[in-house]
Amino acid sequence: MLEIHLILFFMIAAAIIAVEVKDLLSSIIAVGAVGIGLSMAFLVLKAPDLAIMQLVVEILSLIILIRATIRKDLPFSASGRWAFNTGATVVFFAVFLVCAYMALKGLRAFGDPLMRVSQAYLAEGPAKTRALNIVSAITSNFRVIDTLGEGVALFTAIIGILAVARKVGHKKKK
């Protein structure tokens, strides 16, 4: 799986650029590149549903982020104890990655999933639902409550953003 490695290196590089570049617009574009890389990775991992989803969501969030932040100032200044804080963070990450490495040994090797529960989906999917796309069978029937949850989460975001966007929150006191 060379291609997935390459895509991941590309994503990490783009992510580092997004984090470190000074200009906010470039940063948002770089994060868009990470998202596109993710979409490609999903395609390589044989998840076309996810690739489509990631692509459209990425476009939407890019538009919104750019329109939201365009022509706003971005004062950058190095904080005190920069070296110490960064060092501490990096050490934390090193510990995290080492622990994760130990834990990863307990997982199965890449490309060889256990698929205990998923066998049931593959075996019964087309029979119990009318869907040939098993992912769609899962989201619209077997685990429909997840889909309800995502609908509700978006509904919450809609109502909430309408609420936060109110010009006047408190009524005038008289």
Binding site: M53, K72, D73, L74, N85, G111, V135, T139, E150
Partner: protein, 112 residues
Amino acid sequence: MTIYLLCLALFSVGLYCVLRKRNIIKIIIGIGIMEYAVNLFFALIGYRAQGRSPIFAPDQAIRNMVDPLPQAVVLTSIVLGLSVTLMLVAVAIRIYERYGTFDITKITRLKG
């Protein structure tokens, strides 16, 4: 194995951004990167070598499909991530309106 570690390195880049950056748009970007990494991790776990995407064709039998469950899970997780991002952007715009800055160290009307 290395592939999982690379994915977790991406997660760390996002976390670094959240912990160390002062611009709130950068912090939102960092959270987005963390979500990307976790979604990718899920998808990696479900991958099967030489597998096919989990879509049956009407007339042929397909044996070695990749695991469909992580894909369904990531589908939901992407939406949850989008909702959180939209929420953060909305509040960030209002904060800019009220404080006139994106610098988190200057947004301190609440004292700890």
